[in-house]
């Protein structure tokens, strides 16, 4: 059942939130042993919240937009008094002292948070294989990855365990797993969803983003979690945008060589989508995004640099894993050496290198300049078109273990998603099924034009 139906039935008294929650938890337990999407289910607090919703209904009080809707959250988003580990050994025992704004907004609309989902440790990865605790399998093919880093949240929706979930997207971590798992996933405009309570990795790009089984549900949850938050100084109020009438919309398709490494099945999904668009008589125009080829290396330099700074806090003093030893500084190094796994260490080392004396200008500053180039390129393109269409990923889901020993090839799976993160614009994955595995196409629009994305998808796949 989709989220709108659940909320509708709960609000009209046809369905008890407690009953829905109980069934959801049972369903998760039945299905998840094969998938591994969840790190923990929150039985007690979920049932408590559900009973509160039912008693509110009995008293005739107004219920929220997401009344009784089960939602899963990525394990890097804080939910007060619940465990949050970032899928890292270092935070194995961390209990959130407060609740993220996005989660609080869900609770305020009477959603039921049913559990926390698996991810690549500290959101670094594209396959969810970097979790310190378990792997997650793609519900469409159990020998394949669900994508990452928000792989658990994508798989939970794809397997029908929850209608909605939250992930976070820094360079594609919502869009890519959404494509691999055949669900909708949104990377909101930078600043549109509060980052308060999201464990920091690359603060200048990351955003909490939702997954949903259909576009109306995606729109609904985005309307709940977005908005200015005093607790996040980089969050902004949604600008009032006047969307052009759908028939006036122009869609841009990049002409640059970005399609050269795209697999046959993805090209097929992309071309089928393009045909659908043309049948709707929406005009399609070729555009140039010259600097996009620099976006992946620039993204990795900036993200790793910010990570090296943000993750300095995990020294085992205030929280997290603390190694034995009597001296503070050697204990920090030891705690971090033991608490982090390979990919996190690799990124911290990369970022430390890129920021170190003698290399700062060569790498970090150059990457920041490229970020502005990419942003300017998108800006120019959006003067000519309203939406840009690309594939979301160059290939469909790859096999478990296929890329774990080759970090660079893993990074390159962000080729279509890193640019939007650098530019801070919004983009969503729409699932397209052409063969055995799901594929995805990505619609990107300028800052705060999420509604345009929802509208176009609804029109094309109505």
């Amino acid at each position: 059942m989709n989220a709108r139906d659940i909320a509708g039935y709960v609000k009209s008294g046809k369905l008890l939130a407690a009953e829905t929650t109980k069934k959801t938890l049972e369903n998760i337990h039945a299905k998840d042993s094969e998938i591994g999407a969840f790190l923990e289910t929150f039985e007690e607090s979920a049932m408590r919240k559900a009973c509160q919703i039912d008693s509110k209904f009995k008293k005739g009080e107004k219920l929220g937009k997401l009344a009784g809707v089960p939602v899963a959250i990525k394990d890097n988003i804080l939910y007060g008094s619940h465990r949050m580990t970032c899928a890292s050994k270092t935070l194995k025992n961390y209990i959130s002292p407060y609740t993220a704004t996005a989660v609080q907004k869900l609770l305020d609309e009477d959603a039921v948070i049913v559990g926390r989902t698996n991810m690549d440790e500290f959101a670094m990865g594209s396959s969810t294989e970097n979790s310190a605790f378990q792997i997650t399998r793609n519900p469409y093919d159990k020998n394949r990855v669900p994508g990452g880093s928000s792989g658990g949240s994508a798989a939970a929706v794809a397997a029908g365990m929850v209608p909605l979930s939250l992930g976070s997207d820094t360079g594609g971590s919502v869009r890519q797993p959404a494509a691999f798992c055949g669900v909708y996933g949104l990377k909101p405009t930078y600043g549109s969803v509060s980052r308060y309570g999201l464990a920091a990795f690359a603060s200048s790009m990351e955003q909490i983003g939702p997954f949903a089984g259909d576009i109306e549900d995606l729109k609904l949850i985005f309307s709940v979690i977005s908005g200015r938050d005093e607790k996040d100084s980089t969050s902004l109020p949604a600008e009032k945008q006047v969307s052009p009438a759908l028939r006036q919309i122009k869609i841009g398709v990049p002409t640059d060589k970005i399609f050269q490494d795209v697999s046959g099945e993805i090209m097929k999904a992309f071309e089928e989508t393009l045909d659908k668009i043309k049948r709707e008589k929406i005009s399609v125009k070729e555009i140039s995004l010259e600097s996009i080829k620099f976006s992946v290396p620039a993204y990795y330099i900036i993200a790793s640099s910010e990570a090296s700074s943000n993750l300095a806090r995990y020294d085992g003093t205030r929280y997290g894993f603390e190694a034995e030893g009597k001296k503070a500084f050697s204990s920090y190094s030891q705690s971090r050496g033991e608490g982090f796994s390979s990919e996190v260490k690799r990124r911290i080392l990369l970022g430390t290198y890129a920021l170190s004396a003698g290399y700062y200008e060569e790498y970090y500053l150059t990457a920041k300049k490229v970020k502005h180039l990419v942003r300017a390129d998108f800006g120019k393109a959006f003067q000519e078109v309203d939406i840009i269409l690309t594939p979301t990923t160059p290939t469909a889901a790859f096999k478990l273990g296929e890329k774990t020993n080759d970090p660079l090839s893993m990074y390159l799976s962000d080729v279509f998603t890193a640019g939007q993160s650098l530019a801070g614009i919004c983009a969503l994955n729409a699932p397209v099924k052409t063969g055995n595995l799901p594929c995805g196409v990505q619609f990107s629009a300028s800052h705060f034009k999420e509604n345009l994305l929802f509208d176009i998808v609804k029109k094309i796949w109505r």
């Binding site: 407060y98 100084s233 009597k326 260490k345 690799r346 080392l349 790498y363 150059t366 502005h372």
Partner: protein, 95 residues
Amino acid sequence: MQKNSIEIEKIANLAKLNLSEQEKKTFSAQLADIINWFERLKEADAAAAVEGEKTKGAPLREDKPEIFKNSEDILSNAPQREGGFIKTKKVIHSE
């Protein structure tokens, strides 16, 4: 082919990260590959981007002291504590 080699021990020390001998070997090779790949950024016309450097600063809220009600929840995440304090290991050592 390998233009860049990195002084892995120096970087690990800056990052406060203990690495095993095996990790030092693996990471040196992988990081050199990745850094070589970063080189392609030099082809970008970065000078053209300087114009765009000016971005709006984030609006800051007024700095007002508030009582955080869940201080106990924060303290209870600390590996070692003494009453209302987080206990750290010895920072200054006498030789």
